[in-house]
């Protein structure tokens, strides 16, 4: 077998004209790790994630996701990953059941398995009653949880979550992270971006992006020590403040 890194990134860069959104970032993630990708809004997190998912082509640098090269083996990567975008992107005019079935089918899951897992999932999410209602009538929190579930339904090796808890209430946030833990326990690597610093405590390791660069990388405990802070908020402010003042 090769290495156990689920994601390998070396000097990955994305430029839009003269603006550099992602500036030579490098890191690795372990299998089954919950890797938090932190940073302020506009720091380049979404751009980075989109490159790793194969949505955008990098300007330069290298990366391997699930062992495959993101330039040449894009389609192979897509079979093994799941993605939840920052903007809600399930079909509002389809029901929960229909959305699950559609995506599961696209990822090649056999019909019987889809049926089975759907019922289990709906039960878990407590959506069984509303399984056949168009999801545009569901509250945001439930929609987000559904979107996450769809992203991991086909049991991918890695799942990319872009600001999954944006705009939801604290209870839902906690539910969410429980779901993330459960998924990680199964061996799925979780790559999650967020600007909520407290969520960083839930991650195994985190990186902090400032203006397109990774300014810090390590576990929450390590970082708090390194930057002599009691909370991740403090760490972040220490890192981000100089940039903000600029």
């Amino acid at each position: 077998m090769f290495n156990s890194h689920s994601i390998e990134v070396r000097k990955l860069t994305k430029k839009f004209g003269s603006f550099t959104a992602v500036n030579e970032i490098s890191f690795d993630t372990e299998k089954g790790e919950i890797f938090g990708f932190l940073g302020a809004n506009g720091a380049g997190k979404s751009t980075a994630i989109k490159m790793l998912c194969g949505l955008w082509t990098p300007t330069s640098g290298e990366a391997k996701v699930a062992g495959f090269d993101i330039y040449k083996e894009n389609e192979k990567i897509k079979r093994r990953i799941g993605y939840m975008s920052q903007k809600f992107s399930l079909y509002q005019d389809l029901t929960a059941r229909e959305n699950i079935r559609f995506y599961a089918g696209i990822y090649g899951m056999p019909d019987t398995k889809i049926k089975e897992k759907t019922e289990v999932l709906l039960d878990r999410l407590k959506l069984s009653e509303f399984a056949d209602v168009q999801i545009n009538s569901l509250p945001l929190g439930w929609k987000q949880k559904l979107a996450f579930s769809v992203a991991v339904f086909h049991e991918p090796e890695i799942v990319f979550l872009d600001e999954p808890t944006g705009g939801v209430d604290p209870v839902t946030r906690r539910d969410f992270w429980e779901m993330i833990y459960d998924t990680a326990k199964l061996g799925t690597t979780i790559f999650v971006t967020t600007h909520y610093m407290d969520e960083s405590e839930y991650c195994d390791r985190i990186s902090i992006m400032v203006d397109g660069r990774i300014e810090a990388l390590g576990s929450p405990i390590e970082l708090k020590e390194r930057y002599d802070s009691k909370t991740m908020d403090e760490v972040f402010v220490k890192l981000a403040r100089p940039a903000a003042i600029k």
Binding site: L55, R79, S85, E98, F102
Partner: protein
């Protein structure tokens, strides 16, 4: 292949759930067909005529009765002052004024010649042209009557040199001059083209706008499956629409269906691929539904105007005719007419098929090439 099944299921569900669009797809063709077919009529009838008789003689009242009895004209008003007529034209109350000069009858007897003046409201140039030529024809025939019945020669001495050529004429394929038979097939084309282009282009762009396309791009779904999944439902809807419209046309207008319906539908199917490919291409060029709508509208208007529906292609200047070679609408309209009215077979429209095939290749390859899952 299984992917396709899931795609199609999703598309159809979404289309069917969109009640408003469904209503429009069903009602629009009915309305469009009915209104258009009844509204469209270039035939000139009931031309409002203002008759000015400054002579008040036997001859002038004879001429009056010729126009009075004509189907083409409707005598709006009558006067012996030509200024009344000119004012009427100015006010828009009449289309044509006929002015008989004073001493008309006298001049004819004495000098053998006299004048009748026609004034036409030429804002609608074609109408004015035709009106005046109908009027002239009536006057000519009146002239002939005068000669036969009132000239000394006409009564007593048949003039051997008096030539009279009146050709016989007949109308082929449409002896009743049923304008609807001509228009309705073309209108069907319009319908199908509009629905095909607009719906398919806006559909894909909608996913772009809403962001759901990102979720699709992240899956291992193959580009061509996605495109087929987006195209096929509208292809089916387009064909159904065409069939629906054709049935309506038959029931309401009893349009002739001389040729093979199978041939017609075969061509329709091929044509739809062109139109949908166009919609697809548009969707790759735009980011918002509004833009998609606009660009589709842009192409559509040009295609329709240059399609030979409202004005004949042969009447266009050469450079415009050449442009219509690139206009798919033109071919479908021609095929429609050729098959329905003249009973043309596949052999007759082989050339049209070939052109469509070329279009399909060109448009769709361009669209597929442009559509990228990765930016």
């Amino acid at each position: 292949m299984r992917t396709l099944k899931f795609l199609l299921q999703k598309e159809f569900k979404q289309i069917v759930r969109n009640k408003a669009i469904l209503r429009i797809i069903i009602i629009a063709p009915i309305l469009q067909l009915l209104v258009l077919a009844f509204a469209v009529d270039y035939e000139i009838k009931n031309i409002k005529l203002f008759f000015v008789d400054q002579d008040k003689s036997h001859f002038s009242s004879l001429l009056f009765s010729q126009f009075d009895g004509s189907d083409y004209f409707f005598i709006e008003n009558y006067s012996n002052d030509q200024n009344d007529a000119k004012e009427a034209i100015h006010q828009g109350e009449c289309d044509l004024a006929l002015i008989i000069e004073p001493n008309f009858e006298q001049h004819l007897y004495r000098d053998g010649t006299a004048a009748v003046q026609l004034i036409a409201n030429a804002i609608d140039g074609t109408k004015a042209g035709l009106s005046s030529s109908y009027a002239t024809a009536i006057i000519r025939s009146f002239n002939k009557t005068l000669i036969e019945q009132y000239s000394i020669r006409g009564n007593l001495i048949p003039d051997p040199e008096f030539h009279q050529i009146e050709p016989t004429y007949s109308y082929w394929y449409n002896p009743d001059l049923n304008y609807q038979a001509f228009m309705v097939p073309g209108i069907l084309v319009l319908l199908v083209t509009m629905i095909g282009t607009f719906m398919s282009s806006m559909n894909i762009v909608r996913e772009k706008e809403l962001g759901t396309i990102e979720q699709i791009n992240v899956t291992p779904i193959k580009k061509h499956y996605f495109i087929i999944g987006k195209t096929l439902p509208f292809w089916i809807i387009g064909l159904l629409e065409f069939g629906f419209g054709l049935t309506l046309a038959k029931i309401v207008f009893d349009i002739p269906m001389v040729g093979s319906l199978f041939t017609l539908f075969a061509f329709a199917g091929v044509y739809l691929f062109v139109v949908l490919g166009l919609g697809l291409l548009v969707s790759t060029l735009t980011d918002t539904q509004q833009q998609a709508m606009f660009i589709s509208w842009f192409f559509l208007v040009i295609f329709i105007l240059l399609g030979g529906l409202f004005t004949a292609i042969e009447n266009m200047p050469l450079w415009a005719q050449r442009i219509t070679f690139f206009n798919p609408v033109r071919y479908f309209i021609e095929v429609n007419r050729m098959v329905l009215l003249k009973g043309a077979g596949i052999a007759d429209i082989a050339w049209h098929f070939i052109v469509m095939a070329i279009f399909i290749l060109a448009v769709n390859s361009l669209a597929i090439f442009r559509y990228r899952k990765v930016s």
